[in-house]
Amino acid sequence: MAYKIIVCAKQVPDTNEIKTNPETGTLIRDGVPSILNNDDANALEEALKIKDAFPGTTITVITMGPPQATEMLQECLAMGADDAILLSDRALGGSDTWATSNAISAGIAKVGEYDIIFAGRQAIDGDTAQVGPQIAEKLGIPQVSYVKEFAIDGNEITVKRALEDGYELIKLQTPCLLTAIKELNTPRYMYIKGIYKAMKHDIKVWNAADIGVDLTTVGLKASPTNVFKSFTPKPKGAGQKVAGDTDKELAVNLLVGLKEKNII
């Protein structure tokens, strides 16, 4: 059996590299590399594993973002995805998770039939974990989030969904949407043939009209949530360095300090 799989991915700044300017309290984004969002790489890897096991399976990666997001899509193609679609339009800019899910679900509807949609649990820039479930809602299909183990037999899927203190074993049928966490797998690297293939591959770029999305449901103005203020936390002032010439003195002076302030 071969499957039609869609993977939702996002290009994000590498937040490990982001620093703030303490003078201005703004983000320093210059020179910060853009990457394929971590959990989305796990989503793609699981799709690729299905393709390895079931020849004839096709994988379409879809994203929404500015034109430079094609770089990330090329990376997905070089890992082994068959097709890649970028939803890009000024009308989609500033979308919150609700509006984003309206756009992406419209894009998926244009792609056509699918058995499984994989998404990452959350993106490292916003950390909301909302877009996956909201796409599933807009498409009217069941979802399982926080998937850490996956198996498929015909159209029956069995997954383990991670909980804080264990997991749930869940069965469901295709079509469905699953969100991946890093415990699910280890993403593969791009391979040389894949990179050549990706370079030659035409990435489809669709605008709002192409996907036929209702313009009153996308973009900044349609989004039900708005940013009221954005700011950086005030750095908590550094305290004191504990004095001491030996390890024992350091330990003693710390304990004296903690005791003096009634902390212990």
Binding site: L27, G126, L172, L258
Partner: protein
């Protein structure tokens, strides 16, 4: 717009329970909802919403009242015994459409973060994820911005037209940036809130309230996933959110065996073992110990950061601890910028000394004051 603005009232807290036991965050949110409701027009109530099998949820009503709920709505059905996205979404959506709360808040647990987005999408309303602060009162909000952030509050006045809106503050970009989100045009306003951030009220078993059974309209066919089993992991019980003392280890431990020292340290001081993401990613310790943006947010009385450099994601999850002690070889490690007490040294040498002297602290202080 699903719901008319003028009809909405009250704050709902999704009182998440698993197998008949309330999640801690549910009680924290009842406390926060209580506080917010008293900043809203008189008569605004905080209401707990229980969903589950009758035998699991009915006994929990009294507990919600004892922690401050004015009303408890109970949505019970044998089909709701286990959490399913479809089942819980349907009954909660129906209840919200019918009863029309103004605000609905959820704990940002694995279940809350699965349920809330689905319900919000069906209602076509806004949802703000992983909030760490909620405000109605504009004065409180302005005070917060001035005390804790670099935000310019010029132009914000207590009479701001947005004053009645719920101001939902959350970290983004791994805690580098904070944003306050509002939901100006649709109701209810919905948020998920990080566990461990809000304060429970003192339990008062003499408190009562109104318990309301909501009729549930659900059939087996509505639920498209089958929960085969729910397995509790047999791993060390970590309750970072409740811990008064946390001893955390990071990359500076150099290897998994470093956690033996951290465990010994935690045992001595009556603390819980935490870790940085680096140590989890290296496979030295289970993710359940992770403190930080993608782990647990903690607020202990003392946080010992041992061999942790202080990546911004880590700081986001622990910098509101009452007292931070950092032990690190590198004097330039960013952790020292937030530490109340910084020790530049070899943790493998310093920690055994702290362990050895811990019980002598009274005598050490007396000696030092002589």
């Amino acid at each position: 717009m699903a719901i008319n603005f003028d009809d909405v009232k009250n704050i709902w807290v999704y009182a998440e329970q698993r197998h008949g036991k309330l999640m801690n965050v549910a009680l924290e949110l009842i406390g926060e909802g209580y506080r917010l409701s008293r900043e809203m027009p008189e008569g605004t109530k905080v209401c707990g919403v229980l969903i589950g099998a009758e035998e699991d949820v009915k006994p929990l009503e009294a507990e919600l009242f004892a922690y401050g709920a004015d009303e408890v709505y109970t949505l019970a059905s044998p089909l709701l015994k286990n959490y399913t996205t479809d089942g819980y979404t349907k009954v909660l959506f129906d209840a919200i459409e019918d009863i029309k709360p103004e605000i609905v808040i959820f704990g940002a647990t694995h279940i809350g973060r699965d349920l809330a987005p689905r319900v919000a999408a069906r209602l076509n309303t806004g949802l703000t994820a992983d909030c760490t602060r909620l405000d109605i009162d504009m004065n409180n909000y302005i005070n917060f911005l001035e005390a804790k952030t670099t935000c310019n509050t010029k132009g914000l006045t207590p009479d701001d037209p947005k004053k009645a809106l719920l101001k939902q503050t959350r970290p983004a970009f791994g805690g580098n940036l904070m944003a306050t989100i509002i939901t100006p045009r649709t109701r209810p306003t919905m948020s998920t809130v990080r566990p461990g951030v809000m304060k429970k009220r003192e339990k008062d078993e003499s408190l009562t309230g109104t318990a309301i059974d909501v009729k549930v309209n659900l059939t087996e066919a509505d639920i498209r996933t089958q929960v085969v089993e729910v397995v509790k992991a047999a791993k060390e019980l970590v309750s970072l959110t409740d811990a008064e003392i946390i001893c955390s280890g990071g990359r500076g431990l150099g290897g998994p065996e470093g956690f033996n020292l951290i465990r010994e340290f935690a045992e001595k001081v009556g603390g819980v073992v935490g870790s940085s993401r680096a140590a989890v990613d290296a496979g030295w310790i289970d993710h359940s110990h992770q403190v930080g943006q993608t782990g647990t947010t903690v607020k202990p009385k003392i946080y010992f950061a041992c061999g942790i450099s202080g990546a911004i994601q880590h700081l986001a999850g622990m910098q509101t601890s009452d007292c931070i002690v950092a032990i690190n070889k590198d004097p330039d490690a960013p952790i020292f910028e937030v530490a109340d007490y910084g020790i530049v040294g070899d943790l493998y040498k310093v920690i055994p000394q702290i362990i050895a002297e811990w019980d002598n602290a009274d005598a050490l202080l007396a000696a030092a004051q002589k």
